[in-house]
């Protein structure tokens, strides 16, 4: 079942004409001509669509919070600042079917009563920025944007705005600051953007994929959308798969597909690259806990693990993870978990905006401690030290970047503690960057066990 990528392979779908010939912009016609804005909101609520940026908050509910009483101008801002390591799905949508997002922005803006909306795209996607700029011009020329759309009296201006290299701008209040021409420092909530967002006006910020699902929902009803998927994980989800697999890329799956089928069937990832053993999986972008091989296809109770919000988080942080943004990173037995965790910590240290001390300082400490363990200068007590630092960051910052930096470290220690011990005890064996390529950890694991007598 394809909703977002249904027409992805139609030649020329990037252009307005072909997109329109394939049923494009029908949802705008339907919404504006035959539905009230509130009826559109009700359909999105009924669909059960959950925010596809990573948090999974129900989109319709988020929409219902927008302040319509104050009489201030309202804005819809699309979050296209895709920067979570492992995630490259929004780029695919915007690059190949730019009009789908624009159609979603128009229909959604109508539902929210916005007359000025923006797409905030990360600055590195500059060629995609230009694709969107062109597509927006086409939509204006065809009368889908501007004054008095379809003779309804409804006006909408839509523009694309580019960032300049800051992961933090994917956090919605930092994104708003950045759209105002400032540093991307997250704001303290409340007030929430739904009350006071862009230029202090009521604002909704939604991910590219969430907004791109709205046209289908409006065309086919929320009830039909809710029939797809499993339980509270309704609809389809784009998964961007990378790492040691045969077929990396972007896939649209029906939520509820088993992790086993997704990983191993030829229709999807086709199994492990070079047929090496699977070691670990990060199922939802770098911020979510890493899972060891024994908790990937089955949960701790032995039940099948499915690609859904609920199933991937079964077992909590003890034995589960999260669907997150759908950034599916697969690691084989040559991967060094310590090195990979250091790599993630360096990322979060680099991307911390610096407002909150626990995050600004803590991410740097974790990077330093992990680096010394990885390069053979670690101490026995470093593992406890790391645990202590991550625990003190989590929950103690304005925005979730602190949590996102803490969780991967906690999960790595929880599931791969022996590997950290090995690094500390056998510094001479890890001198080379690719130490587990020549000799995977499985082959030397016994050395750690022997020492523990």
């Amino acid at each position: 079942m394809k909703i977002l990528l249904e027409h992805a392979n139609v030649p020329g779908i990037k252009t307005y004409e072909v997109y329109r010939q394939n049923g494009g912009y029908r949802s705008v016609e339907k919404a504006i001509k035959s539905m009230t804005p509130d009826e559109v909101v009700e359909q999105v609520k009924a669909s059960g669509l959950r925010g596809r940026g990573g948090a999974g908050f129900p989109t319709g509910l988020k929409w219902s919070f927008i302040d319509k009483k104050s009489g201030k101008p309202r804005h819809l801002v699309c979050n296209a600042d895709e920067s979570e390591p492992g995630t490259f799905k929004d780029r695919y949508l915007m690059e190949y079917i730019p009009h789908l997002l624009i159609e979603g922005m128009i229909t959604s803006s109508y539902a929210l009563g916005c007359n000025l909306s923006y797409i905030y795209i990360r600055g590195e996607y500059m060629w995609v920025f230009r694709i969107l700029e062109k597509a927006i011009k086409e939509a204006y020329a065809a009368g889908w944007l501007g004054k008095n759309i379809l003779g309804s009296g409804y006006d909408l201006d839509l523009h694309v705005h580019c960032g300049a290299g800051a992961y933090i701008c994917g956090e919605e209040t930092a994104l708003i600051e950045s759209l105002e021409g400032k540093r991307g420092n997250p704001r303290i909530k409340p007030p929430f953007p739904a009350v006071s967002g862009l230029w202090s006006n009521p604002t909704v910020v939604n991910n590219v994929e969430s907004i791109s699902a709205v046209p289908w929902i409006v065309n086919n009803t929320g009830e039909e959308y809710a029939k797809i998927g499993i339980g509270r994980s309704t609809g389809t989800k784009l998964i961007s798969a990378s790492g040691h697999i045969k077929n990396p890329g972007v896939y649209e799956i029906e939520l509820g597909l088993s992790v086993d089928e997704f990983m191993n069937s030829d229709q999807y990832l086709g199994g492990m690259m070079d047929d090496r053993p699977l070691k670990a999986l990060v199922p939802g972008g770098s911020s979510v806990p890493i899972l060891p091989a024994n908790l990937i296809f089955k949960n701790a109770e032995g039940g099948d693990r499915l690609m859904s919000y609920e199933s991937l988080s079964e077992g909590g942080f003890q034995s589960g993870s999260m669907l997150g943004s759908g950034g599916f990173i697969v690691y084989n037995d040559t991967t060094c978990i310590v090195r990979n965790t250091w790599n993630f910590s360096r990322f979060y240290h680099h991307e911390s905006c610096g407002q909150c001390s626990p995050c600004r300082e803590g991410t740097g400490w974790m990077e330093k401690v992990l680096h010394r363990i990885e390069t053979g200068h670690g101490r026995e007590e470093d593992i406890e030290l790391l645990w202590d630092i991550q625990r003190k960051i989590e929950g103690n910052t304005i925005c979730p970047l602190g949590d996102a930096a803490a969780w991967p470290v906690a999960a790595a220690i929880r599931h791969f503690r022996e590997e950290f011990e090995y690094h500390v005890r056998f510094p001479e064996k890890i001198k080379n960057r690719d130490h587990f390529v020549a000799e995977p950890f499985e082959k030397v694991r016994h050395l750690v066990a022997k020492q523990e007598i």
Binding site: T87, M126, F344, F347
Partner: protein
Amino acid sequence: MEISNAKQVINIDAQLMERINELLSHYPADKKKSALLPVLHEVQDAHDNWLSIELQDKVAEILEIKPIEVYEVVSFYTMYNQKPIGKYMFEFCRTSCCAIRGAENLMDYTCEKLGIKEGETTPDGMFTVVGVECLGACGYAPMMQLGDYYKENLTKEKVDQIIEDCRNGKVNLH
């Protein structure tokens, strides 16, 4: 990134000004500051890919904001360069998904070939190599950004070819 005192020839020509005005038209008339990030990109692209203090002052003047409001933004976002850099800046993604597919070794190879260390520029001013964080091309690793475009699924051979193409002026940056 350190700040440079190098001099820069400032040239905001009619074409660039037209583009700046187009960008300004995307925001309410009293919210010119909102155009700052996109305007800085355009101005930097037209000035050898870096922003001197003088150039930042000029941007402040155009947007009718204080110079400090521009400085604090330029120093926050990684895509703005505060010192002269090579004509061709190879920005290798070094985050997890690229790292496990050989990005670090490939960046070392590139540096060695060009005779520089990561973060440095070749003496002729042609090439700069830097390691950057996740660029959102994880499934096409290893990769680098070059100007406005991505070069993906890289190998040593492909890097050799890109360097060759740069030297022959065959690479489009914008």
